[in-house]
Protein backbone atom coordinates (compact mmCIF):
# COMPACT_ATOMS: atom_id res chain seq x y z
CA UNK A 1 0.00 0.00 0.00
CA UNK A 2 2.73 2.41 1.09
CA UNK A 3 4.91 1.54 -1.86
CA UNK A 4 2.02 2.14 -4.18
CA UNK A 5 1.48 5.55 -2.65
CA UNK A 6 5.07 6.75 -2.96
CA UNK A 7 5.18 5.48 -6.51
CA UNK A 8 2.07 7.43 -7.19
CA UNK A 9 3.46 10.59 -5.59
CA UNK A 10 6.68 10.41 -7.58
CA UNK A 11 4.72 10.05 -10.75
CA UNK A 12 2.55 13.00 -9.78
CA UNK A 13 5.58 15.21 -9.12
CA UNK A 14 7.22 14.21 -12.37
CA UNK A 15 4.21 15.07 -14.47
CA UNK A 16 3.29 18.30 -12.68
CA UNK A 17 6.73 19.70 -11.92
CA UNK A 18 5.96 23.05 -13.49
CA UNK A 19 2.67 23.44 -11.70
CA UNK A 20 4.28 22.70 -8.32
CA UNK A 21 7.07 25.17 -8.96
CA UNK A 22 4.56 27.90 -9.76
CA UNK A 23 2.59 27.03 -6.63
CA UNK A 24 5.70 27.28 -4.42
CA UNK A 25 6.59 30.58 -6.03
CA UNK A 26 3.13 31.98 -5.26
CA UNK A 27 3.30 30.80 -1.66
CA UNK A 28 6.61 32.61 -1.17
CA UNK A 29 5.20 35.82 -2.67
CA UNK A 30 2.12 35.67 -0.45
CA UNK A 31 4.26 35.06 2.63
CA UNK A 32 6.35 38.16 1.82
CA UNK A 33 3.24 40.28 1.29
CA UNK A 34 1.79 39.14 4.61
CA UNK A 35 4.97 40.03 6.48
CA UNK A 36 4.81 43.54 5.00
CA UNK A 37 1.39 44.20 6.48
CA UNK A 38 1.14 47.89 7.30
CA UNK A 39 0.44 48.61 10.99
CA UNK A 40 -3.08 49.89 11.63
CA UNK A 41 -1.88 53.13 13.19
CA UNK A 42 0.73 55.13 11.33
CA UNK A 43 2.47 58.46 11.75
CA UNK A 44 1.03 61.25 9.64
CA UNK A 45 3.58 63.89 10.56
CA UNK A 46 7.29 63.43 10.04
CA UNK A 47 9.69 64.13 12.92
CA UNK A 48 11.15 67.33 11.43
CA UNK A 49 7.71 68.92 11.30
CA UNK A 50 6.96 67.78 14.83
CA UNK A 51 10.02 69.44 16.29
CA UNK A 52 9.22 72.64 14.36
CA UNK A 53 5.65 72.53 15.67
CA UNK A 54 6.84 72.21 19.26
CA UNK A 55 8.44 75.62 19.03
CA UNK A 56 4.99 77.17 18.60
CA UNK A 57 3.04 77.95 21.71
CA UNK A 58 -0.61 77.27 22.36
CA UNK A 59 -0.36 73.54 22.91
CA UNK A 60 -1.31 73.87 26.52
CA UNK A 61 -4.40 75.11 28.28
CA UNK A 62 -4.44 76.61 31.75
CA UNK A 63 -6.86 75.23 34.34
CA UNK A 64 -8.48 78.65 34.41
CA UNK A 65 -9.40 78.70 30.72
CA UNK A 66 -10.62 75.11 30.95
CA UNK A 67 -12.82 76.09 33.85
CA UNK A 68 -14.09 79.08 31.92
CA UNK A 69 -14.95 76.94 28.89
CA UNK A 70 -16.67 74.28 30.98
CA UNK A 71 -18.78 76.75 32.92
CA UNK A 72 -19.91 78.46 29.72
CA UNK A 73 -20.68 75.31 27.77
CA UNK A 74 -20.04 71.92 29.43
CA UNK A 75 -20.16 70.08 26.10
CA UNK A 76 -18.05 72.55 24.15
CA UNK A 77 -14.82 70.73 24.89
CA UNK A 78 -14.10 67.02 25.25
CA UNK A 79 -12.09 66.31 28.39
CA UNK A 80 -10.06 63.09 28.32
CA UNK A 81 -8.57 61.53 31.45
CA UNK A 82 -5.59 59.33 30.55
CA UNK A 83 -4.99 57.92 34.04
CA UNK A 84 -5.84 54.33 34.90
CA UNK A 85 -9.49 53.50 35.43
CA UNK A 86 -8.75 53.02 39.14
CA UNK A 87 -7.52 56.55 39.60
CA UNK A 88 -10.33 57.83 37.40
CA UNK A 89 -12.95 56.22 39.58
CA UNK A 90 -11.51 57.90 42.64
CA UNK A 91 -12.15 61.34 41.21
CA UNK A 92 -11.95 63.21 37.95
CA UNK A 93 -12.87 66.45 36.22
CA UNK A 94 -16.60 66.64 35.59
CA UNK A 95 -17.76 65.01 32.33
CA UNK A 96 -14.29 63.66 31.60
CA UNK A 97 -13.93 60.49 29.54
CA UNK A 98 -11.45 57.85 30.64
CA UNK A 99 -8.96 56.53 28.06
CA UNK A 100 -6.00 55.00 29.95
CA UNK A 101 -2.58 55.51 28.32
CA UNK A 102 -2.29 51.80 27.56
CA UNK A 103 -5.50 51.86 25.51
CA UNK A 104 -4.66 55.02 23.60
CA UNK A 105 -3.84 53.24 20.36
CA UNK A 106 -6.66 50.72 20.37
CA UNK A 107 -8.89 51.04 17.33
CA UNK A 108 -11.75 52.36 19.43
CA UNK A 109 -9.71 55.23 20.88
CA UNK A 110 -8.03 56.11 17.61
CA UNK A 111 -11.32 56.34 15.71
CA UNK A 112 -12.73 58.40 18.56
CA UNK A 113 -9.92 60.94 18.26
CA UNK A 114 -10.08 60.91 14.47
CA UNK A 115 -13.78 61.74 14.59
CA UNK A 116 -13.06 64.61 16.97
CA UNK A 117 -10.46 65.85 14.50
CA UNK A 118 -12.92 65.59 11.61
CA UNK A 119 -15.67 67.50 13.42
CA UNK A 120 -12.99 69.90 14.76
CA UNK A 121 -14.22 69.57 18.32
CA UNK A 122 -11.57 70.82 20.73
CA UNK A 123 -10.29 68.28 23.23
CA UNK A 124 -8.01 68.39 26.24
CA UNK A 125 -5.88 65.64 27.80
CA UNK A 126 -4.91 65.42 31.42
CA UNK A 127 -3.02 63.00 33.64
CA UNK A 128 -1.92 63.16 37.24
CA UNK A 129 0.67 65.75 36.38
CA UNK A 130 1.29 67.58 33.15
CA UNK A 131 4.17 65.30 32.26
CA UNK A 132 1.94 62.22 32.18
CA UNK A 133 -0.34 63.72 29.54
CA UNK A 134 2.48 65.34 27.61
CA UNK A 135 3.81 62.14 26.04
CA UNK A 136 0.43 60.80 24.83
CA UNK A 137 -0.45 64.26 23.55
CA UNK A 138 2.70 64.46 21.43
CA UNK A 139 2.04 60.96 20.11
CA UNK A 140 -1.47 61.99 19.03
CA UNK A 141 0.00 65.03 17.28
CA UNK A 142 2.30 62.76 15.34
CA UNK A 143 -0.67 60.64 14.29
CA UNK A 144 -2.22 63.77 12.78
CA UNK A 145 -4.71 64.54 15.57
CA UNK A 146 -4.09 68.21 16.15
CA UNK A 147 -7.10 69.60 17.96
CA UNK A 148 -5.96 68.25 21.33
CA UNK A 149 -4.30 70.26 24.09
CA UNK A 150 -2.70 69.44 27.43
CA UNK A 151 -3.97 70.65 30.78
CA UNK A 152 -1.25 72.61 32.56
CA UNK A 153 -0.35 71.14 35.92
CA UNK A 154 -2.54 68.07 35.44
CA UNK A 155 -5.23 66.81 37.76
CA UNK A 156 -3.12 67.05 40.93
CA UNK A 157 -2.90 70.81 40.37
CA UNK A 158 -6.46 71.25 39.10
CA UNK A 159 -8.13 69.74 42.14
CA UNK A 160 -6.23 71.98 44.58
CA UNK A 161 -7.45 75.13 42.88
CA UNK A 162 -10.29 77.18 44.30
CA UNK A 163 -11.74 77.83 40.86
CA UNK A 164 -13.17 81.27 41.29
CA UNK A 165 -12.72 84.81 40.09
CA UNK A 166 -9.67 85.27 42.26
CA UNK A 167 -7.83 83.03 39.80
CA UNK A 168 -8.13 85.69 37.12
CA UNK A 169 -5.39 87.59 38.87
CA UNK A 170 -2.89 84.79 38.43
CA UNK A 171 -0.41 85.29 35.63
CA UNK A 172 0.86 82.88 33.02
CA UNK A 173 3.99 82.44 35.13
CA UNK A 174 2.10 80.38 37.64
CA UNK A 175 0.71 77.97 35.08
CA UNK A 176 3.61 77.45 32.74
CA UNK A 177 6.18 75.20 34.38
CA UNK A 178 8.63 75.69 31.54
CA UNK A 179 9.28 79.31 32.50
CA UNK A 180 12.52 79.62 34.40
CA UNK A 181 12.49 79.90 38.16
CA UNK A 182 16.21 80.38 38.42
CA UNK A 183 17.29 83.75 39.65
CA UNK A 184 20.33 84.22 37.45
CA UNK A 185 21.45 87.38 39.18
CA UNK A 186 21.67 85.48 42.42
CA UNK A 187 23.59 82.71 40.77
CA UNK A 188 25.94 85.07 38.97
CA UNK A 189 26.76 86.78 42.24
CA UNK A 190 27.73 83.42 43.60
CA UNK A 191 29.58 82.66 40.40
CA UNK A 192 31.80 85.75 40.69
CA UNK A 193 32.90 84.76 44.12
CA UNK A 194 33.74 81.42 42.67
CA UNK A 195 36.41 83.02 40.49
CA UNK A 196 38.10 84.50 43.54
CA UNK A 197 37.79 81.36 45.57
CA UNK A 198 38.86 79.09 42.77
CA UNK A 199 42.53 80.09 42.78
CA UNK A 200 42.98 79.23 46.44
CA UNK A 201 40.79 76.18 46.42
CA UNK A 202 41.90 74.64 43.20
CA UNK A 203 44.74 72.70 44.75
CA UNK A 204 42.58 71.52 47.60
CA UNK A 205 39.80 70.26 45.40
CA UNK A 206 41.94 68.24 43.08
CA UNK A 207 42.53 65.39 45.45
CA UNK A 208 43.62 62.33 43.56
CA UNK A 209 40.66 60.24 42.63
CA UNK A 210 40.69 56.56 42.95
CA UNK A 211 39.54 55.11 39.71
CA UNK A 212 38.52 51.53 39.62
CA UNK A 213 37.83 50.46 36.09
CA UNK A 214 35.37 47.67 35.76
CA UNK A 215 36.25 45.40 32.97
CA UNK A 216 33.70 43.17 31.48
CA UNK A 217 34.93 39.89 30.13
CA UNK A 218 35.40 40.07 26.42
CA UNK A 219 34.19 36.99 24.73
CA UNK A 220 37.03 35.59 22.76
CA UNK A 221 36.68 34.51 19.23
CA UNK A 222 36.48 30.84 18.59
CA UNK A 223 39.08 29.19 16.47
CA UNK A 224 38.88 26.19 14.30
Amino acid sequence: MLIFNTMNLKKFIRTNRLFLAALLFLIVIIAILLSLRVPTVTYRVNPDKVSAMLAESGNQMSPLSLFGLLSKNPTGIVVVDIRSSDEYSKGHIENALNIPVKELLQNRSVTFFQELEKSSTPAILYGNDQLQANGPWLLLQQLGIENVKVLQGGYAFYKTLPLADSLLQKSEFEWNVELTRIDTSEYLKVGNEKVVAASSENSARKTPEKVVPVKKPVSGGGGC
Binding site: T42, K102, V177, V190, K194, K216
Partner: protein, 213 residues
Protein backbone atom coordinates in the same frame (compact mmCIF):
# COMPACT_ATOMS: atom_id res chain seq x y z
CA UNK B 1 9.60 27.02 -27.21
CA UNK B 2 7.38 25.52 -24.59
CA UNK B 3 4.29 27.65 -24.03
CA UNK B 4 4.36 26.88 -20.34
CA UNK B 5 7.81 28.48 -19.98
CA UNK B 6 6.52 31.65 -21.63
CA UNK B 7 3.63 31.72 -19.17
CA UNK B 8 5.98 31.38 -16.21
CA UNK B 9 8.23 34.11 -17.56
CA UNK B 10 5.25 36.43 -17.91
CA UNK B 11 4.19 35.60 -14.35
CA UNK B 12 7.66 36.52 -13.09
CA UNK B 13 7.63 39.84 -14.89
CA UNK B 14 4.18 40.67 -13.50
CA UNK B 15 5.38 39.81 -9.99
CA UNK B 16 8.40 42.05 -10.49
CA UNK B 17 6.08 44.97 -11.28
CA UNK B 18 4.17 44.06 -8.15
CA UNK B 19 7.32 44.81 -6.15
CA UNK B 20 7.26 48.36 -7.48
CA UNK B 21 3.85 49.14 -5.98
CA UNK B 22 4.63 47.75 -2.51
CA UNK B 23 4.13 50.35 0.26
CA UNK B 24 7.14 52.53 1.04
CA UNK B 25 9.21 51.82 4.07
CA UNK B 26 10.96 55.14 3.93
CA UNK B 27 12.08 55.30 7.56
CA UNK B 28 13.15 51.79 8.46
CA UNK B 29 14.79 52.90 11.71
CA UNK B 30 11.60 54.40 13.09
CA UNK B 31 9.75 52.51 15.79
CA UNK B 32 6.03 52.12 15.28
CA UNK B 33 3.45 54.09 17.29
CA UNK B 34 2.54 51.14 19.50
CA UNK B 35 6.16 50.63 20.57
CA UNK B 36 6.47 54.35 21.17
CA UNK B 37 3.40 54.33 23.40
CA UNK B 38 4.85 51.47 25.45
CA UNK B 39 8.06 53.47 25.84
CA UNK B 40 6.10 56.56 26.90
CA UNK B 41 4.33 54.56 29.56
CA UNK B 42 7.65 53.30 30.93
CA UNK B 43 9.18 55.62 33.48
CA UNK B 44 12.72 54.24 33.37
CA UNK B 45 13.77 57.23 31.26
CA UNK B 46 13.51 59.67 34.18
CA UNK B 47 16.68 60.32 36.14
CA UNK B 48 16.58 62.32 39.37
CA UNK B 49 18.33 65.67 39.75
CA UNK B 50 20.38 64.25 42.62
CA UNK B 51 21.69 61.43 40.47
CA UNK B 52 22.63 63.83 37.68
CA UNK B 53 24.33 66.13 40.20
CA UNK B 54 26.33 63.24 41.55
CA UNK B 55 27.44 62.30 38.06
CA UNK B 56 28.38 65.91 37.22
CA UNK B 57 30.49 66.20 40.37
CA UNK B 58 32.14 62.89 39.65
CA UNK B 59 32.75 64.16 36.09
CA UNK B 60 31.31 60.95 34.72
CA UNK B 61 32.67 60.49 31.20
CA UNK B 62 29.54 58.61 30.15
CA UNK B 63 27.25 61.56 30.84
CA UNK B 64 26.18 63.89 28.04
CA UNK B 65 23.78 66.61 29.16
CA UNK B 66 21.62 68.15 26.46
CA UNK B 67 19.95 71.50 27.09
CA UNK B 68 16.85 71.85 24.88
CA UNK B 69 16.02 75.43 25.88
CA UNK B 70 16.62 78.45 23.68
CA UNK B 71 20.18 79.60 23.04
CA UNK B 72 19.45 82.75 25.04
CA UNK B 73 18.53 80.89 28.18
CA UNK B 74 21.45 78.54 27.70
CA UNK B 75 23.86 81.48 27.65
CA UNK B 76 22.44 82.83 30.90
CA UNK B 77 22.75 79.64 32.85
CA UNK B 78 23.36 75.99 32.09
CA UNK B 79 24.64 72.90 33.80
CA UNK B 80 28.37 72.25 33.37
CA UNK B 81 29.21 70.14 30.33
CA UNK B 82 25.83 70.59 28.66
CA UNK B 83 25.34 71.01 24.91
CA UNK B 84 22.62 73.35 23.68
CA UNK B 85 20.26 71.76 21.14
CA UNK B 86 17.05 73.82 20.91
CA UNK B 87 13.92 71.75 20.29
CA UNK B 88 13.44 72.92 16.70
CA UNK B 89 16.94 71.93 15.59
CA UNK B 90 16.91 68.58 17.35
CA UNK B 91 16.99 66.52 14.17
CA UNK B 92 19.29 68.71 12.10
CA UNK B 93 22.30 66.85 10.79
CA UNK B 94 24.57 69.11 12.82
CA UNK B 95 23.59 67.38 16.06
CA UNK B 96 23.15 63.90 14.75
CA UNK B 97 26.55 62.79 15.88
CA UNK B 98 26.08 64.16 19.40
CA UNK B 99 22.80 62.32 19.77
CA UNK B 100 24.09 59.08 18.29
CA UNK B 101 27.23 58.85 20.45
CA UNK B 102 27.79 55.32 21.58
CA UNK B 103 28.58 54.61 25.19
CA UNK B 104 27.15 57.87 26.50
CA UNK B 105 23.97 58.54 28.40
CA UNK B 106 22.28 61.46 26.68
CA UNK B 107 20.22 63.31 29.28
CA UNK B 108 17.77 65.96 28.12
CA UNK B 109 16.81 68.80 30.38
CA UNK B 110 14.82 72.04 30.13
CA UNK B 111 13.46 74.41 32.74
CA UNK B 112 10.87 71.82 33.75
CA UNK B 113 10.68 68.35 32.22
CA UNK B 114 7.95 68.91 29.65
CA UNK B 115 10.11 70.12 26.76
CA UNK B 116 12.86 67.68 27.64
CA UNK B 117 10.35 64.85 27.45
CA UNK B 118 9.15 66.07 24.05
CA UNK B 119 12.74 66.02 22.81
CA UNK B 120 13.10 62.53 24.25
CA UNK B 121 10.02 61.32 22.39
CA UNK B 122 11.16 62.65 19.03
CA UNK B 123 14.53 60.97 19.49
CA UNK B 124 12.92 57.77 20.74
CA UNK B 125 10.78 57.62 17.61
CA UNK B 126 13.98 57.82 15.54
CA UNK B 127 15.28 54.95 17.72
CA UNK B 128 18.20 56.73 19.35
CA UNK B 129 19.70 54.67 22.16
CA UNK B 130 20.53 55.56 25.78
CA UNK B 131 18.46 58.70 26.03
CA UNK B 132 17.03 59.99 29.31
CA UNK B 133 15.14 62.91 30.82
CA UNK B 134 16.11 64.84 33.95
CA UNK B 135 13.01 64.67 36.10
CA UNK B 136 11.89 68.06 37.37
CA UNK B 137 14.28 69.96 35.14
CA UNK B 138 16.48 72.92 36.01
CA UNK B 139 13.85 74.60 38.18
CA UNK B 140 13.67 71.62 40.48
CA UNK B 141 17.44 71.22 40.37
CA UNK B 142 17.80 74.82 41.49
CA UNK B 143 15.27 74.69 44.31
CA UNK B 144 16.40 71.31 45.61
CA UNK B 145 20.15 71.82 45.43
CA UNK B 146 21.00 75.50 45.27
CA UNK B 147 18.28 76.39 47.74
CA UNK B 148 18.11 73.23 49.81
CA UNK B 149 16.53 73.60 53.21
CA UNK B 150 17.55 71.54 56.24
CA UNK B 151 15.33 68.62 57.22
CA UNK B 152 13.81 68.34 60.67
CA UNK B 153 16.08 67.02 63.40
CA UNK B 154 13.84 64.01 63.67
CA UNK B 155 14.02 63.19 59.97
CA UNK B 156 15.25 59.74 58.97
CA UNK B 157 18.99 59.44 58.41
CA UNK B 158 18.54 58.99 54.66
CA UNK B 159 17.00 62.43 54.44
CA UNK B 160 19.85 63.95 56.43
CA UNK B 161 22.39 62.22 54.20
CA UNK B 162 20.59 63.60 51.17
CA UNK B 163 20.67 67.08 52.68
CA UNK B 164 24.39 66.82 53.35
CA UNK B 165 24.97 65.65 49.82
CA UNK B 166 23.01 68.59 48.47
CA UNK B 167 24.96 71.04 50.63
CA UNK B 168 28.20 69.59 49.34
CA UNK B 169 26.88 69.79 45.79
CA UNK B 170 25.94 73.42 46.30
CA UNK B 171 29.46 74.12 47.44
CA UNK B 172 30.78 72.41 44.34
CA UNK B 173 28.63 74.53 42.03
CA UNK B 174 29.10 77.87 43.78
CA UNK B 175 32.73 77.46 44.72
CA UNK B 176 32.36 77.38 48.47
CA UNK B 177 31.96 79.75 51.36
CA UNK B 178 29.45 82.11 49.75
CA UNK B 179 26.15 80.39 50.38
CA UNK B 180 26.62 80.31 54.12
CA UNK B 181 26.43 76.59 54.03
CA UNK B 182 30.13 76.08 54.49
CA UNK B 183 30.01 77.18 58.10
CA UNK B 184 28.18 74.03 58.81
CA UNK B 185 30.75 71.42 59.77
CA UNK B 186 28.69 68.52 58.57
CA UNK B 187 28.59 69.94 55.06
CA UNK B 188 32.36 70.05 54.91
CA UNK B 189 32.51 66.49 55.94
CA UNK B 190 30.06 65.61 53.25
CA UNK B 191 32.02 67.59 50.68
CA UNK B 192 35.14 65.63 51.29
CA UNK B 193 33.08 62.50 51.30
CA UNK B 194 31.94 63.28 47.78
CA UNK B 195 35.50 63.94 46.65
CA UNK B 196 36.75 60.75 48.18
CA UNK B 197 34.07 58.63 46.67
CA UNK B 198 35.55 55.88 44.64
CA UNK B 199 34.53 56.26 41.09
CA UNK B 200 33.47 53.37 39.02
CA UNK B 201 33.98 53.80 35.34
CA UNK B 202 32.15 51.31 33.32
CA UNK B 203 33.78 50.42 30.10
CA UNK B 204 31.74 49.45 27.13
CA UNK B 205 32.31 45.85 26.21
CA UNK B 206 34.41 45.60 23.14
CA UNK B 207 32.85 44.01 20.15
CA UNK B 208 33.34 40.33 20.31
CA UNK B 209 35.93 39.31 17.83
CA UNK B 210 34.48 36.70 15.63
CA UNK B 211 36.54 33.65 15.06
CA UNK B 212 36.73 32.33 11.61
CA UNK B 213 38.66 30.10 9.38
Amino acid sequence: MDRRYTLLAILLIVAAFGLLILPDRDKPNEINPQELLTAIDDHARFLSTDLITERIIGSDPALQLIDVRSADQFRQFALPGAVNIPLDSLLSSQWRETLMQQGKDKVFYSNADIEADQAWQICRRSSFKRIFVMKGGLNYWYTSIMKCSPPKATAPSQEIDLYNFRLAARQYFTGGESAGAAKDDSSKGAASKVAEQVKVIKKEPKAASGGGC
